[in-house]
């Protein structure tokens, strides 16, 4: 009897000791390089130190497209990671892959972690939520598009530096004055489609595509050749012809042009702040993007860009619990505030936004809360929650190709947008055919 008791204690001790050391590993593939990657590692270290059961291993797996390819290949070979960071244009692809992912709502519910979708900023969470209110992926790094002006250049042109153009009409007038004052490059933009088609539509509360910008079904078609869109693109084409708009490429190449003082006005991601702050030798301000004041319903709210975290299917149950705990950790207001302040990405929960406000950060850094304010200007409508188009990587490229033709003076805006719609719809139909 004593021996049995001893043996049982011994076994129990072994199990306990084994359990204490056996950490469940959670593999997270991300695309945050450079300083952002450092911050990711910091977050992960904090989480790992805060508890003993799980260990998150963050691996930089290349750029967004590369890590997605890697995950696809790994999934097909049965060795996918637990968490994958996917850019916002890949949302539809991930969503449609029902057997490959597990919705975040389900992961949190299964692990019995407290999770209230309403605690998240609506325009942030809305992008990644299905129509039934289930959050499919965890919004990790989101930004929105902002309008930057070079205040010194404004002064030189005789414009009021503290008043950035609020409407496109004012913008046109300011552009002409800047050009006349000798400014070589008046306006440039990063992410042309994100700014001038996608955010433009949301900001004016007009659809980008049918079926609630694709969120309602795979049979969506593009609506970006409406008179308003044509008017806007034609306006940009005119500015380009007059030399008041200098096209700088499809990603964020424009930011360097603004930061160096070459261009006086810029629309690009809120994340450009960090670059500009470091490099600009002039006075500048960050503002809401302009709108057409003769359009009813404008300005509405802008939509996000960035990436979210998806949970891959086919992993062990214990790992899902760890994922849930990690997401709960990431949602804590202090963690969110830290991430928001260090990176310039927006805080994803209202609590985090409040906490940051209370800490006086926005007073010390005027304008740092502009992105959130622009995103939450009004409760989102079905035109401004975001978008969900299949194969949108190719779709956006098509749109930008057509825009480039207009900027180069090769096509007029109506033809370009009609072509963009035609080619874009072909891509959507292929996606639909495959995922029906």
């Amino acid at each position: 009897m004593q021996l049995k008791h001893l043996a049982a204690t011994f076994v129990a001790a072994m199990v306990y000791a084994g359990g204490a050391h056996a950490q469940t590993e959670i593999l997270w593939w991300h695309s945050m390089g450079g300083a952002l990657g450092e911050k990711v590692n910091e977050l992960v270290t904090r989480f790992n130190a805060s508890q003993k059961d799980y260990r998150v291993v963050a691996v930089y797996k290349g750029s967004y497209p590369e890590s997605m390819t890697a995950a696809i290949a790994a999934f097909r070979a049965g060795s996918a990671p637990n968490i994958l960071q996917v850019f916002e244009v890949g949302t539809a692809t991930m969503m449609a892959a029902k057997g490959a992912i597990v919705p975040v709502t389900k992961v949190m519910a299964d692990a019995r972690e407290a999770f209230d979708p309403r605690a998240y900023l609506p325009s942030v969470a809305g992008y990644y939520t299905d129509l039934d209110g289930n959050m499919l992926s965890f919004p990790f790094n989101s930004s929105t598009v902002m309008f930057y002006v070079n205040k010194d250049a404004f002064k030189k042109a005789g414009l009021d530096p503290s008043h950035a153009p609020a409407t496109w009409k004012e913008f046109g007038a300011a552009a002409a004055r800047l050009k006349a004052s000798g400014q070589e490059c008046v306006y440039t933009t990063g992410w042309p489609s994100w700014m001038h088609i996608e955010n433009f539509s949301a900001w004016h509360n007009v659809p980008i595509g049918t079926r609630q910008n694709g969120m309602g079904g795979l049979d969506t078609t593009f609506s970006i050749n409406s008179p308003l869109h044509v008017r806007h693109l034609a306006m940009l084409g005119e500015l380009a012809k007059k030399g008041e708009f200098t096209y700088a490429g499809r990603t964020n190449q424009a930011e360097a042009k603004f930061a160096s003082g070459e261009c006086a006005m810029l629309t690009s991601s809120a994340g450009a702040q960090a670059t500009i702050r470091k490099a600009a030798k002039f006075d500048w301000s960050m503002n809401f993007i302009p709108y057409y004041d003769d359009v009813k319903g404008a300005p509405q709210n802008s939509i996000i860009g960035g990436a979210s975290l998806w949970v891959m299917a086919g992993k062990k149950p214990a790992e899902y619990k760890g994922v849930a705990k990690f997401f709960a950790f990431l949602s804590q207001p202090e963690v969110q505030m830290d991430w928001h302040i260090s990176t310039g990405y927006v805080p994803i929960t209202l609590a985090a936004y409040e906490l940051t406000r209370k800490s006086g950060f926005y007073e010390r850094n005027p304008g740092a809360d502009m992105p959130v304010r622009q995103l939450t200007l009004h409760p989102p409508t079905e035109n401004s929650k975001g978008l969900r188009f299949g194969n949108f990587v190719q779709g956006r490229e098509v749109i930008e190709e057509e825009m480039e033709a207009v900027f180069a003076g090769k096509k007029d805006a109506q033809t370009a947008l009609d072509d963009a719609v035609k080619r874009g719809n072909e891509i959507l139909r292929r996606f639909e055919a495959v995922n029906r």
Binding site: A100, A256, V434
Partner: protein, 293 residues
């Protein structure tokens, strides 16, 4: 192209060839066959729902005006890169062969780019030619040239051609130089004594003897221009503006790796494979005939 003296053995040649064939079958043919199979399928990125689509992927491609334009762009690009790389290298090698002083220095300095990874080379050139902060851009602007390859398709093509040729010059240069240095001096001297000038000597004696090298380099450069240049394009123009530098292999890479469209990408790979195979066969059949071993 055939040896007169050969060995005969039952099993030995197979044994010698086996390792390479084995690796080739496992890591090339098997995956390539699968890639080929994908071209007949319509599938989502994760392979969860697959439908047989017959030739639909091909039909879509061949009706796409932009894809057809890629053929033209690729032809122009490959021609410029192969011709540019080979002729520039030949000129440099011929000159390097002539000089006695500083030959080693020249040679050393000219082969550095070879050590640079294509991904990195693209970044370097994009940096130099960046529309606002690029040094070359600055110089061009001062010279009155409006350098803006982001909008002007021709300039974008020029940029990627230069970046691609740059990487290949070192490679071609080395091969040509080696070839030149192996030509018996006696032949050249004899021609000189007969009164042939340097240019005549080059074209009638040197160049024909250089032909095996030139042929090798032609094949390699064409393959390089068709395939290995997508890293450069990815780092600089990404096929833009408006498809001006959209070469076939870039579209394959883009659709497969960036857009996760495996069916379309595989169909394009098949077409590309057919083209390059045809080109290579042509080269071997017709050009090699004129090569003197």
């Amino acid at each position: 192209m055939e040896k007169r003296t050969v060995f005969r053995s039952g099993w030995l040649p197979y044994a010698l060839v086996a390792p390479q064939i084995a690796v080739t079958v496992v890591f090339f043919f098997w995956p390539a066959a699968q890639a080929l199979w994908y071209s007949f399928l319509l599938q989502d990125a994760f392979g969860l729902s697959t439908r047989f689509a017959g030739l639909q992927n091909f039909a879509v491609l061949l009706h796409d005006v932009h894809y057809l334009r890629s053929f033209e762009v690729t032809a122009v690009f490959s021609l410029l890169v192969a011709a540019g790389g080979i002729s520039a290298a030949l000129l440099l090698a011929a000159m390097a062969d002539r000089v006695v002083r500083g030959a080693l220095v020249y040679r050393t300095l000219l082969i550095w780019p070879y050590a640079v990874a294509p991904a990195v080379a693209g970044v370097l050139w994009a940096f130099l030619f960046a529309p606002s902060i690029g040094i070359v851009t600055y110089v061009l602007k001062k010279a009155g040239i409006d350098w803006n390859w982001i909008i002007k398709g021709d300039q974008a093509m020029l940029l990627v051609v230069i970046a691609s040729v740059w990487k290949q010059i070192s490679y071609n240069f080395l091969f040509f130089l080696a070839g030149l240095q192996s030509i018996p001096k006696s032949l050249v001297e004899a021609a000189a004594i007969d009164g042939a000038g340097p240019a005549r000597r080059f074209w009638t004696i040197v160049f024909p003897l250089l032909s095996p090298t030139a042929f090798f380099l032609l094949v390699v450069n064409v393959v390089y221009a068709f395939f290995d240049t997508f890293g450069v394009i990815d780092a600089t123009t990404q096929g833009g503006p408006a498809g001006a530098t959209q070469i076939l292999v870039y579209k394959v890479y883009y659709d497969g790796v960036k857009a996760a469209d495996l069916g379309g990408s595989s169909a394009q790979s098949v077409i590309l494979m057919v083209i390059v195979t045809a080109l290579t066969v042509v080269q071997f059949r017709f050009v090699e005939k004129r090569v003197q071993y």
